[in-house]
Subunit: 612 residues, 2 copies
Amino acid sequence: MSAERWRELGQQLRVDSVRASAAAGSGHPTSSMSAADLLAVLLDGGFLRLDTSDLKNPANDHLIFSKGHASPLYYAVLKAAGIIDDAELLTFRKLDSRLEGHPTPRIPPTDVATGSLGQGLPISVGVALAGRKLDRLPYRVWCLCGDSEMAEGSMWEAFEHAAFNGLDNLTAIIDVNRLGQTRETMVGWDLDRYVRRAEAFGWHAIAIDGHDVDAIHAAFEGAVQTTGKPTVIVARTKKGKGVRAVEDQPGKHGKPLDDPEEAVAELGGERDLSVSLAAPDGGRPHAFEIASHPPELPNWETGEQVATRQAYGEALTALGSSRGDLVALDGEVSNSTHSELFREAHEDRYFEMFIAEQQMVAAAVGMQVRGWVPFASTFAAFFTRAYDFIRMAAISRANIRLSGSHAGVSIGEDGPSQMALEDLAAFRAVHGSTVLHPSDANQTAKLVAAMADREGISFIRTLRGKTEVRTPADEDVAIGGSRVARDGDDVAIVACGVTVGQAVEAAERLSGDGIEARVIDAYSIKPIDAETLRAAARECGAIVTVEDHWPEGGLGDAVLEALAEADDRPRVTKLAVREMPVSGTPDELLHEAKIDADAIAAAARELAKATA
Amino acid sequence: MSAERWRELGQQLRVDSVRASAAAGSGHPTSSMSAADLLAVLLDGGFLRLDTSDLKNPANDHLIFSKGHASPLYYAVLKAAGIIDDAELLTFRKLDSRLEGHPTPRIPPTDVATGSLGQGLPISVGVALAGRKLDRLPYRVWCLCGDSEMAEGSMWEAFEHAAFNGLDNLTAIIDVNRLGQTRETMVGWDLDRYVRRAEAFGWHAIAIDGHDVDAIHAAFEGAVQTTGKPTVIVARTKKGKGVRAVEDQPGKHGKPLDDPEEAVAELGGERDLSVSLAAPDGGRPHAFEIASHPPELPNWETGEQVATRQAYGEALTALGSSRGDLVALDGEVSNSTHSELFREAHEDRYFEMFIAEQQMVAAAVGMQVRGWVPFASTFAAFFTRAYDFIRMAAISRANIRLSGSHAGVSIGEDGPSQMALEDLAAFRAVHGSTVLHPSDANQTAKLVAAMADREGISFIRTLRGKTEVRTPADEDVAIGGSRVARDGDDVAIVACGVTVGQAVEAAERLSGDGIEARVIDAYSIKPIDAETLRAAARECGAIVTVEDHWPEGGLGDAVLEALAEADDRPRVTKLAVREMPVSGTPDELLHEAKIDADAIAAAARELAKATA
């Protein structure tokens, strides 16, 4: 217990925040200064238990800055803990530095990228869930939140899920410095409102003066001693604390101090305190019992009618029997996505995330921090709800697998709100992503297996209705591959998912007119099988693409991109959904959208005529 | 006061929900039956005030089904109110019916599409804000919510904003039927937890038995009498109420009843009660005072250095002086997006939405329901947070304008979390959208003016840094247009935003090598100026596209699409951001990403050589 030392360490963290921002010429020193005392006590009070000589120690606590713009403070903390040195601190925001404007995993032990507000706490819930239910280790998760980001709904998803799961290994710290970027928050310094909200969501809440180190210490003690529920420490702080020119002043957000030298002097000058962090409790992560045999993926006879969402559920369940690191999450539609099969077989590795898609994706990101292999599923349309989390997951270098069912107009009667028609575009535009859309059950099973070993963000789009199994069970199916569903040299039709069957039907009709169409089943949309497409361009002279998706950013654009620099650049007709769909039967809607066999045959005929 | 009649009307609404779903062969009757009594009293108790002979009466109340899957109940309500007849009710979910699986504005007086849960209440907040602060009319907004969707964070954004704005013209009704799609919700029938949460967020909360019509009536009375804060009625109900085979049973979600005839008999048979809804109070919408002169858009001299985000703010402010229907919303970054200029000039038409992008877009959708012309702004990256709301806004046939600033690696030091690199792809894949990315201030001002009159979802992407004004103030700039920034016939470079300046610089260097490059400034990405691109394809032989965006779904793909069916299909080299960016200066990052003048010149040289 050393209040004086904590106060000194707090000042050091402020000084280093000011110095780093000054060296960078940008950054958020005032947002760092408000939380400095909180972090000083967390570090030096023995609460953060982290082996700095082994940052990958599975028993380490996790420290997540949900308010990622307080990165100067975060890096000052890393320096105080001996993880970086002062010279590196001053590389903040420079091109070759690991210390980016907002934290990313490029600088260990950072678990995830933050900087889009409202994400660190939901991700912390994922890490805490992993600690409690997967690793079964006593590590704690400490999450520093800004008060401005409490306006993001995703924070309340996190509050609800943390309480529902009794995550007493999670502590949120809200730095209530009152001032956002341009004005006071909606709640201001009314700590009691945060306390009542948190309590109503099932948390233990402690309101304190966030600059009173003894109160901070008592609050952390209270958090550690609380069982059965998570704790939030609601800390009243001052933005820019300690420097009169900026303390509690509006208009001081997100810029270095005008006179950093004077500020450092006012803060008592540079210090060089170093902290020996407490050691983690130790222990090894739990391993789930698995079968001794290799995965026995399901397979189906050609000609069978099976929904690809059903194949997803069956394949994931089979994989889970041989791989204990697989976990499944679902947004309360597990009987639609068929992740319910996994739940039934591997209940303790299934996480019901209810109707909270942001929290679902965040939980998956949190679990992969600890090396688990999450598959999260919902209707493909509803991943749009979590698009910011998916974008950020790529910056986190996260390995997550997402399965979106009920894609396209082919769902029928439920109407456009349930139809994913932009998902391929959205997922293609995620850095390093993999985008898959199998047309049948055998493809699906093999692609699910490939996803388990895939780095980055991978997405598989499945269908509500049954489709005919065309891919023999012993045929190779691989990410980056494709399948020639029918041969021909007069025109090529590139399809995926539900449109493959329509394309084959169109090709059969065209054959009756003497036009032999090659049908390419492009089940891997990113990466796409450019070689096969270039061969088709060379040999067939013209291409029709057809997808149950808007015209922008999906299969058609992927095909055009693959041919953009090729020597043969044939005319390409893109068939896609161009008018807002309504309710109807799947067949009616495929027809109305002009992506059925009729439309494909007509387009192919037109092209074949033009190139004949 | 007629409890018996309300009970009868409730049974009729149940019967009609069962009949409509039976006729469709799909739908959500049990989710409708739980809320039938609530709606019966709302209608027949005189609470919903709506002129059924004039559904566009601006004084009408608004009824929004946030739980859009209870569409059978909604349509049963429209029938009881005389807005549709029984024959139309039975067209539910059929191809040519206005009665889609989830409600859309195709059937008046439906304001917006619902069906993606968690959106109806935030949109209701927008309508209520319009009523209070724009129209200044006493209409009320009644929003029926499901209990499952209370897990969506967006609902709590709505709770916070409604209370913050004192929206006593808004009543939320939570149909706590306890059962989600596969299991009980996290809260179950613990009404008190909803009450405490709502109160902690500043609402008046009333818990009732949702099948006790007298209690329902008293609750609505309580809502109407409450001033200064919104009211939520937390109603304990039974899913499938009234039919033993399904009442409070798991596994009965989202399907028609097995024996609808028996169910109708159990409910007491068909009825044909009709309700004369209460009349609205009347009154005319408020009109804001405006200047008598036409808009005087700002303009700049060529050669000036101006950030396009600054031009956005200035143009919007100028337009707002001549158009009283313009309103602005911002996600607490108004000094970054420069919507602060509008706030300063037109304070009573500016809405601070804090860091709640879902609620911001939803509020814009709610305001345009009443004919207002909203422009909502934040960093372009953070619109990903609201992508589901934007997707649904298109299904709502909403007219909203979104401005995303700080696009691309050109923002520099803040790092990738703040860089929009997927926004063009995401917005292109919104049905009927307009996607604009001006390179200079004069373009920006004219495009902002064009957006005000544009239907659908329009998006303008602006830059953090200053760019040179190249477009003369008197030059035409139009949605669907483009600008030839430099002439040449050896190769074409298609750029937008910050890359236009880089492309011009590259062209100047190429000219020194005897290569004359045409630079096309494609400020309108959707619709794109296909004619100009096809001319370039014909005349220049090869094309380089360059964008500060991931390679997928943005400018490059839009160019390829425009040429896909053209007679001339030249080789196209797409320059785009291909590696995850880090922090650095804007110039460093443009160079690292290979989208600067160096990279453009190299690519153009390569192409010119290949096609020479």
